[in-house]
């Protein structure tokens, strides 16, 4: 009796002669069916056997796939000595050079640990400076966001300011006042600037927004409806100074 191809494969796999992992069951089944059709010998009994063998192979494959690799490894570690003996038995003539090779590989691969250098104090300081800048930016953003909740200037007022006196002129006035009151870039409140210039909040605040936009000053607010603070942005390159 002729053995069918799939049955042969199953026997090979059961005997450990082939790796079920590497069998393309779909391909083999297709080829088998094509061959049967070609011979016009299609018969339900054979088909059933084909499916049975295919299913068996699939089960073997899934069993292989679901084996817990860690379970395997733990056993593997215990079996190390055994495996080593095994290899000596299997290939006595090769055991010695392979052992030498193994030591050489370990020496070189073991070295493979890319050393990372420790961070330096200089870098720590650099990062601190960066952190401070970051925080200022964050505060500014928050301040700007909150400004919209503080009495909002009406559009007509903004337009009026921008038209009546050109904004650059207004910004120069406000900046000049700031530098007089805070020559070293100290922090002031907008209220102080208004009092000093004798202007309405809106007439000082809008030019300040322009100045902040240009990086001349920083504006922030520490609490809702609280004072708005102004400070010279030391990192900005002043066009007015």
């Amino acid at each position: 009796m002729h053995e069918e191809p799939v049955e042969i494969l199953v026997q090979l796999a059961e005997r450990g002669e082939i790796d079920p992992w590497n069998i393309d069951i779909v391909d083999i089944t297709d080829r088998f069916l094509t061959e049967l059709e070609r011979r016009r010998e299609l018969d339900l009994r054979i088909s059933g056997r084909t499916l049975f063998f295919a299913a068996t192979l699939l089960r073997m494959k899934s069993e292989y796939l679901t084996t817990d690799p860690f379970e395997d490894q733990e056993e593997g570690d215990l079996d190390d000595a055994l495996e080593d003996e095994e290899i000596l038995e299997c290939a006595a003539d090769e055991a010695e050079p392979i052992e030498r090779l193994e030591r050489e590989i370990q020496r070189r691969i073991g070295r493979k640990r890319v050393r990372r250098r420790p961070a330096t104090l200089y870098e720590l300081i650099t990062e601190l400076k960066a952190a401070e800048k970051e925080e200022r930016r964050r505060r500014r953003r928050r301040a700007q966001a909150q400004q919209h909740e503080v009495p909002l200037p009406r559009t007509s007022e903004i337009v009026a300011v921008a038209h009546d006196e050109d904004y650059r002129g207004a910004a120069e006035d406000v900046f000049g006042c700031y530098t007089r009151l805070a020559p070293a870039g100290e922090t002031l409140t907008v209220r102080v600037l208004c009092d000093s210039l004798g202007k309405r909040t809106i007439d000082v605040y809008i030019p300040l927004l322009f100045l902040a936009l240009e990086g001349e000053v920083e504006l922030w607010q520490e609490e809702y409806f609280g004072d708005v603070y102004v400070r010279r942005d030391m990192h900005g390159q002043s066009r007015y100074a």
Partner: protein, 160 residues
């Protein structure tokens, strides 16, 4: 085999500080003998003008490049602490003791993972304080950045 060379081999492979206890076990000596071996290794390294030095914390040994050589080689290498984590560390060092909640305000929510890493590296200590944690740098921090006193670090960090 030469125990001092064995010690060098251990420190060469480790690439990180190694405990006295571990070294003693590997060399089959008593813990108390480790410092003497370390000091002999130091002498040998100096003797042949090696770019390496052995840092002895009293608990562990660490073989690193001497500073002048690290200045030369390190620009070519990546630091072991990422910039983002280093930035978080710098904020903690500057503001310590600092609440973790305040830190997150400044550094964003990524700071939780940074603190985790810094605590694991032993550079930051975390202590429960009310609903948050209080953070501060450890003595290991000063050792890492090779500064004797924390106060001097504070001064040098005082960039404002």
């Amino acid at each position: 085999m030469d125990r001092v060379a064995m010690l060098e081999a251990i420190l060469f492979v480790a690439g990180a500080p190694v405990d006295y206890g571990e070294i003693a076990k590997m060399l089959e000596v008593r813990d108390e003998e480790v410092p003497a071996l370390a000091s002999e290794l130091k002498d040998r390294l100096d003797g042949r003008a090696a770019p390496l030095e052995v840092l002895d914390s009293g608990d562990d040994l660490y073989m690193v490049l001497k500073e002048e050589y690290s200045d030369f080689v390190y620009p070519l290498m990546r630091p072991e602490i990422s910039r983002a984590v280093l930035r978080t560390l710098s904020v903690i060092a500057y503001r310590q003791p600092m609440l973790q909640s305040d830190l997150v305000e400044v550094r964003g929510s990524g700071a939780y993972a940074h603190v985790e890493e810094l605590v694991k590296r032993g550079l930051v200590a975390r202590q429960r304080s009310g609903r948050s944690y209080e953070l501060q740098t450890t003595p290991e921090f000063s050792r890492y950045f090779k500064t004797a006193a924390l106060s001097s670090v504070q001064e040098r960090l005082d960039v404002r």
